[in-house]
């Protein structure tokens, strides 16, 4: 049914349409609305027979899902950010045990510094966990991907993460054609577990495996996940036949046929990127977009084929690996190995910073002018960073970085204000630093509430 609905509510309805047997979840933003809605559905009796477990932690949530899945129940949970990291041990375990659990990850940054807004750092940290990862561009696609995820998970007996941008999608009201139970029933068969704890036919699941067979077990896990490269497009096709709309798949090309420049990205930012590309197309630029839906397994061949006709590609990605750079871009580079393509990685939108059309145009202008660095942090405040680097080099004290940045930024603002009043800016800045709420620790802002003590000693020793 097409309705104006919040993303998370649409996901809850789509998941409910898949008739899960067990839902176990712990609240964490921005995932919370999804499981709130599901708990209401279970409580009202709209999901007869389903069990809703209010667990004590995300670690408990994933553990309960493992237990439920092992006895043959269709199992669902959702999480985000720190929650995902808290359940990590069980996340790896679920895939190792071959439990077809479906989990929504409402993507969010990871602390410290604590930041509740969207980027892909959380799910990317689980790229080696053995889970499949599908990224949604819109709420419609997110809802559809959940239905497909149960099908894929249960056919492969592997867990699937459906990743959707926190807040940008989960909290956005959109027109969504929410999958309904009758439709889903035509597409998603009952869960028939490959292995199940059944007293009639007892098996031991989770035995200890030594060096003589561990490599083989891991190889088979890889082999099984690689089967998804064929299964995902197949499921996409069948979904389209039943639901009459195209969602999912491995990659989603947009205006690629004659494109010389391709922007590669994932998630909701694809919408903005497509708008920018449309505008540049109108100016006659040969530019296209490659959206990646399946990040695990990584569709190396599909990406290579999609990029083989272009001259250069730019990865715009909302996650990066500290110490090396873009994560998806390194995957893409290895996919096009041997092809002579210029490539750039642009880290953008970290911790919820908006990725604007203006910034993307600026990035493309730089690219055209040949001034785009191979590794670029979009909209990075150079002044602020350099000031901190200088301070760090001067004081040789690393300290809590975010607090230093906030303090430096405030001092700068105060200095500008004082300058406008006609006083000496350097002295003004020093005074502003000493008088800033962070420096004296009297009324620290919400962002740094607990960190005022180290900052205060820091600031005082600086004065001395």
């Amino acid at each position: 049914m097409r309705e104006q609905i919040e993303g998370s509510q649409a996901i809850a309805k789509a998941v409910a349409a898949c008739r899960p047997d067990v839902i176990a979840a712990y609240p964490i933003s921005p995932q919370t609305h999804i499981v709130e809605a599901l708990s209401a559905l279970v409580k009202k009796g709209d999901l007869p027979g389903a069990e809703y477990l209010n667990v004590e932690s995300e670690f408990g949530a994933m553990s309960a899902c493992i237990g439920a899945s092992a006895v043959g129940a269709r199992t669902y949970t959702a999480t985000a950010s720190q929650g995902l990291l808290f359940m990590v041990e069980a996340v790896y375990n679920a895939s190792g045990l071959g439990m077809p659990i479906v989990m929504t990850v409402a993507n969010r940054a990871i602390g410290a510094p604590i930041n509740i807004w969207n980027d892909h750092t959380d799910a990317m940290s689980q790229r080696d966990s053995g889970w499949l990862q599908l990224y949604a561009e819109t709420n419609q696609e997110a809802a559809d991907l959940h239905v497909q995820a149960f099908r894929i998970a249960e056919e492969l007996s592997l867990p699937v993460m459906v990743c959707m941008d926190g807040f940008i999608l989960t909290h956005a009201m959109e027109l969504v054609d929410v999958p309904e139970a009758e439709q889903v029933a035509k597409f998603l068969p009952d869960y028939e577990p490959r292995q199940v704890l059944d007293p009639e036919n007892p098996v031991s699941i989770g035995a200890m495996v030594g060096p003589e067979a561990y490599t083989e077990v891991r190889y088979l896990a890889h082999h099984r996940q690689m089967q998804a490269l064929e299964l995902i497009p197949q499921v996409q096709k069948e979904f389209a036949e039943v639901f009459g709309r195209d969602s999912g798949g491995l990659v989603r090309p947009y205006l690629l046929d004659d494109a010389e420049t391709v922007i590669v990205s994932m998630g909701s930012v694809l919408g903005t990127i497509k708008d920018v590309v449309d505008e540049r197309r109108e100016r006659g630029e040969k530019i296209g977009v490659l959206g990646i839906t399946s990040f695990r397994p990584f569709p190396t061949d599909a990406v290579r084929e999609a990029l083989s006709g272009c001259q250069r590609f730019v990865n715009v990605e909302k996650a990066f690996s500290v110490g090396i750079g873009g994560i998806v871009s390194s995957h893409c580079r290895s996919a096009v190995r041997g092809l002579d393509l210029e490539n750039f990685e642009v880290i953008a939108g970290l911790g919820g910073r908006p990725i604007t059309k203006a910034s993307l145009h600026g990035m493309l202008d730089d690219l055209a002018a040949g001034s785009l660095a191979e590794q670029t942090f979009l909209d990075l405040d150079r002044d602020l960073v350099e000031e901190e680097l200088a301070r760090e080099a001067h004081s040789r004290r690393s300290g809590p970085l975010a607090e230093n940045l906030v303090r430096a930024s405030q001092a700068r603002t105060d200095a500008v204000l004082e300058e406008n009043e006609g006083t000496d800016p350097a002295r003004g800045a020093a005074r502003a630093r000493a008088a800033s709420p962070l420096a004296n620790g009297s009324e620290a802002g919400g962002l740094v509430g607990t960190a005022n003590v180290p900052v205060s000693t820091d600031a005082k020793s600086e004065e001395k």
């Binding site: 004590e56 699941i205 200890m208």
Partner: protein
């Protein structure tokens, strides 16, 4: 070219989940009250008894955990007619029973992680209920997996009153990883991380978790302690727990010859001495209230229990540590008084006097807290004096 690595093939064995046992000692009570009334007979005395944990696993000689697990799960299987699944935390029990490609379990069995067995079992119970099955769920783990790393998930399971029987096999340290201290290690015990060195050798007084009492505080339907010295009692408690629904907890003392440094043939003796001294009280509680205790006929002095164990050897070296042993005795005496393990009229006068005089906190928990608090107060007072002596108030903030 691939090298043959000698990967073992999976073998299907024909070991049945129910084993017909031929008893040779016909007419004696040697195999578990077989001639007693039906309700009083041991589960293990049934010639068609269950065989949940088969022999041939790789536990050490004299392993208390293997013994306890076998009796507990056989009883649970008998009580549920084999309609049960077992969830296992990481630990000795999991490692010695399932080295791939072998498994000693004839019941459906799942191992996930060290700290999540209660949550996995809760999920399994929920899944089975959702699938409309009446299959029962048992979770089991050692003391480390239960009182330390898994305590959060266990508390969650208690709080939700999930339909799971959780059995903790307590051998009082992390035996599987090389005998390190756990939250259930008793005071003064030597472990790999509480060495018998320094002025206060072994594990400190005033620490450790009494998981059975913590479980009682959750007011779950059933909590019990048991030991492998009284296997009939263990069977009875598991059977009783299986007749109930909701969260149930049984804490079983299982001596570990390797970790305790005791002879393999002393496992049952030591378990009995732990009870008979009063150091390990055996009781049942329902809804958070104690409903029964196993009485002690004659209290054994704690030395009898401590001496055969190498983990307490430092208490007896040289002139010995009579004060420390007296303190351990006080713990036993306090338990005797707290749980009413012996009726007053059964006690010799001197023992009665000792029991009545035992301090309420021989573990030294309050003492440690008070000590820490007094130190804090002292530090505060010192700081105040120092500050009063300082003239410049702006410097005071930097202290």
């Amino acid at each position: 070219m691939s090298t043959p690595l000698g990967i073992p093939g999976v073998r299907q064995t024909e070991i049945p989940a129910r084993e017909h046992v031929k008893f040779y000692q016909v007419g004696s009570y040697a195999v578990g009250n077989r001639l007693a009334e039906e309700g009083l007979r041991s589960v293990q005395s049934d010639p068609n008894r269950w065989n949940t944990l088969t022999s041939g696993h790789r536990a050490c000689q004299g392993c208390g955990e293997a013994l306890g697990a076998r009796y507990a799960l056989d009883s649970a299987a008998a009580a549920s007619d084999g309609d049960l699944v077992a969830v296992n935390a990481t630990g000795c029990l999991e490692v010695f029973s399932t080295p791939y490609p072998e498994s000693a379990w004839t019941v459906p069995w799942l191992h996930s992680l060290f700290g999540n067995a209660p949550a996995v079992a809760a999920g399994a119970a929920a899944g089975l209920r959702a699938k409309g099955k009446s299959t029962r769920v048992i979770a089991q783990g050692g003391d480390g997996g239960t009182v330390d790393i898994g305590m959060g998930t266990l508390s969650g399971m208690f709080e939700r009153n999930d339909d799971v029987l959780y059995i903790c096999y307590d051998n009082q340290a992390y035996m599987n990883t090389g005998v390190q201290r756990s939250g259930a290690t008793p005071p003064t015990a030597r472990t790999a991380t509480t060495q018998p060195v320094g002025p206060k050798p072994g594990n400190r007084f005033g620490q450790g978790k009494d998981m059975a009492r913590i479980a009682m505080a959750h007011e779950i339907p059933y909590v019990a302690t048991a030991s492998v010295a009284d296997l009939r009692d263990l069977e009875f408690k598991v059977t009783k727990a299986m007749s109930m629904h909701g969260a149930r907890y049984i804490h079983v003392l299982v001596p570990c010859p390797l970790g305790w440094g005791s002879a393999s043939n002393l496992t049952v003796t030591l378990a009995r001495l732990a009870t008979q001294t009063g150091l390990f009280p055996i009781f049942e509680a329902e809804g958070g209230e104690i409903t029964s205790v196993m009485k002690i006929r004659r209290p054994a002095p704690v030395e009898e229990y401590l001496k055969p164990q190498r983990r307490f050897a430092h208490l007896f070296k040289g002139g010995g540590e009579p004060e420390v042993i007296a303190r351990l005795q006080a713990i036993a005496d306090r338990n005797i008084r707290r749980y009413g393990l012996i009726d007053e009229d059964q006690l010799d006068d001197d023992v009665l006097a000792r029991v009545l005089a035992a301090p309420e906190d021989p573990e030294g928990r309050y003492e440690a807290i008070l000590h820490a608090a007094s130190e804090t107060k002292q530090a505060q007072a010192q700081a105040r004096t120092r500050n009063a002596a300082t003239e410049n108030p702006s410097d005071r903030e930097d202290q």
